[in-house]
């Protein structure tokens, strides 16, 4: 794992003391809110419905056991004993008091963490595949590149006042677990003729105008990564619209100027600045790569796993859904579900954080990951240790076998916390999860991505959910609009909006009808919900959503 240099350390510490002074000046009245707000946002501090909210970066989702323990300590000391893991591999605290935030940032700095650039019109936390460095299907570990991008973008003087926020995601595999096509820049590692490089995608995004990113370069040699990204952000910074907040993202710049014009401008700028990159970045990259070496994985037999799998159906169900293939066959990647049925998706209590930290230390080389799907991952686990891990997780309410299934829902905070929301998200997720658990159908339904947002900003990724749910305010009442057929992977697609929205009472039964319709419609058990939707189109699913209008049409 990456360890801060003295420079990183000093930089973060100086930001904390700077912010401490700013908070003091706000509290003693020497700064007005108008003066203070941009300063607090530069440090990840928002004001939400009921309280402040502190957003802490977890770069490319990688975190050590020690850091996870510190997150638990912060939750206990200055918040309400829990934290919320988000789709951008951050953690949010929902209840800090303004006066405590400098102490919280200090506690983060103690474990090499911070909240810098988790807000504002800058390059945000660089995200990555949560299985990076462990997955069998990757060309190489994408995290050293993400770390290089993090260092380059942090406090980059040219990019502190972009037209809008800017998000970069990197994946090392063809299978896209980092949603690269919904990011401002998406990078996919490739190998061509023995050379390593990237496919570069720009202009993806969700929000009110969802767009799938477009390929701007089929192959970018890895040594050109920083100058090329710098050229992209430079062109965006120049062309991006500052007249209209809703048209300010690079997706609109690409849409309005066309990908070909963008490419020409980017290539021209790239040619101009390439010579300025003398190769220091490549030396740095080599040093960073060394820090991401795979831990010394242990040898040993997997008998304990084989026998638990053969004899314990609860363990088997969990193993079937929550384990992914590690590149070493006697190892596994464990996804810990923080989506227990009926609980708030993405929330972990401080006790749960501490348990996960302990398990990581004991069985998983001290390393954890946060996924964009709001779960926690132990990336390198020997199969022989899985029964013990499963038992410990189950005892702590973390043993739910639902990864990738209907109750593994992404839900944004919605109107329970978020000042921008138009409806709630969390209770809908809780009810859907409770319902599928009561009906015991989610294992039968299989892979299904349900994603819920509480407003058109689409933080909950509803546009790229197989079933997307968008909460709206219709004349002072919560209303939920359904989209179907979205996909966040390498076959990315924006979902199609179905008919009128549903009330809070109607939405869960409507989702249930969709699942039951799918079970009827699928050609065979192995055909997923998304495949069935792609084969048959909207019509049969619309009929399931709106049975009354179907009956009227027939009459």
């Amino acid at each position: 794992m990456y360890n801060y240099t003295d420079f990183d350390e000093a930089f973060v510490r100086s930001r904390v003391s700077q912010f401490r002074a700013q908070v003091e000046r706000r509290i003693d009245g020497s700064l007005t809110e108008d003066e203070f707000k941009p300063l607090r946002l530069m440090n990840g501090l928002y004001l939400q419905l009921h309280a402040y909210m502190l957003r802490v970066a977890i770069p490319y989702g990688t975190i050590s056991a020690r850091q996870m323990r510190q997150l638990a300590y912060i939750a206990d000391t200055w918040d309400k004993g829990y934290g919320h893991f988000t789709t951008r591999q951050n953690i949010q605290y929902n209840w800090p008091a303004l006066k405590d935030v400098p102490d919280m940032l200090e506690a983060l700095a103690d474990v090499q963490m911070h909240a810098i650039q988790t807000s504002g019109n800058t390059i945000r936390n660089v995200t990555s595949d949560h299985f990076a460095g462990a997955a069998g299907d990757e060309v190489a570990d994408p995290r050293p590149y993400a770390e290089l991008l993090r260092q380059w973008s942090t406090d980059h003087p040219e990019f502190q006042f972009l037209p809008r926020k800017f998000k970069i995601a990197v994946t090392g595999a063809e299978a896209d677990r980092a949603v690269i096509r919904s990011h401002d820049i998406g990078l996919q590692l490739l190998e061509q003729n023995g050379e390593r490089g990237f496919k570069v995608i720009i202009g993806g995004g969700l929000g009110r105008t969802p767009m799938i990113g477009k390929v701007v370069r089929d192959f970018l040699p890895e040594a050109d990564l920083l100058p090329y990204c710098e050229a992209i952000v430079h062109v965006y910074n120049t062309l991006g619209r500052r007249d209209n907040k809703y048209k300010a993202r690079i997706k609109i710049t690409v849409h309005e100027n066309g990908i070909d014009t963008m490419r020409e401008l980017i290539e021209a700028r790239f040619a101009e600045i390439r010579p300025e990159f003398s190769g220091v970045d490549q030396e740095l990259l080599a040093a960073i790569k060394a820090q991401f070496a795979t831990p010394a994985l242990r040898e040993g037999d997997t008998a304990a796993y084989d026998s638990a799998y053969a004899t314990d159906p609860v363990f088997r169900a969990w193993a079937d859904t929550n384990l992914a293939a590690h590149r070493k066959p006697d190892h596994a990647i464990v996804t810990i579900s923080i989506k227990a049925h009926g609980k708030t998706p993405g929330d972990a209590t401080s006790d749960q954080m501490r348990l996960m930290a302990e398990l990581a230390e004991e069985y998983a080389h001290g390393e954890l990951r946060i996924s964009h799907e709001q779960n926690v991952i132990l990336p390198h686990v020997h199969k022989g240790d899985l029964p013990a891990i499963h038992a410990a997780l189950s005892a702590a309410g973390l043993g739910t076998a639902n990864i990738g299934l209907a109750s593994d829902i992404i839900a944004c905070p919605g109107m329970d916390y978020c000042a921008l929301a138009t409806a709630r998200s969390i209770p809908i997720a809780q009810e859907i999860a409770t319902r599928v658990d009561e009906l015991k159908i989610e294992h039968e339904v299989g892979e299904l991505k349900i994603k819920i947002s509480g407003c058109i900003n689409a933080c909950g990724h509803h546009h790229v959910g197989h079933i997307g749910i968008l909460g709206l305010d219709r004349a002072g009442v919560e209303n939920y609009q359904v989209t179907l057929g979205g996909d966040h992977t390498e076959t990315a697609a924006v979902g199609t909006r179905m008919g009128p929205g549903f009330s809070a009472d109607e939405i869960v039964p409507a989702i249930e009808r969709l699942m039951l319709a799918y079970l009827d419609l699928r050609s065979e058990k192995s055909e997923t919900f998304l495949q069935t939707f792609r084969r048959l189109g909207d019509a049969p699913f619309k009929a399931a959503l709106y049975p009354e209008s179907e009956a009227r049409n027939a009459a």
Binding site: G29, L47, L49, H50, A51, P96, A97, K99, D416, D473
Partner: protein, 100 residues
């Protein structure tokens, strides 16, 4: 035609804790919606809002929110303000526990 004025309360967040607060009859701030002063006329409501905005060392983000009279004092008319008055619906956090 301008929209007819509907009754309002002045609400904001407390500077230090971030808690939702309401302007009372006496001009102080309360954490309870039922203590709020209900403005039934536009002039006094906007005047109270302007005065509140000057108290920047105590409060953040003051605005007027729709409300209506009830036997126990003003109550919110929109669900957003109802959540602000009670706390989130996924946990018993915020005012719903603090006020009991």
């Amino acid at each position: 035609m301008p929209k007819a004025f509907t009754p309002k309360v002045v609400t904001a967040n407390a500077l230090i804790e971030g808690d939702v607060i309401y302007l009372t009859e006496s001009g102080s701030w309360s954490r309870s919606h039922t203590d709020a002063r209900l403005f039934t006329e536009e002039g006094p409501a906007t005047a109270a809002l302007s005065a509140a905005e000057l108290q920047s060392s105590e409060i953040v983000g003051a605005y007027l929110a729709d409300a209506e009279a009830s036997p126990k004092g003003p109550k919110p008319t929109h669900f957003r303000e109802a959540f602000r008055a009670t706390g989130p619906s996924n946990y018993p956090h915020g005012k719903q526990v603090e006020n009991v």
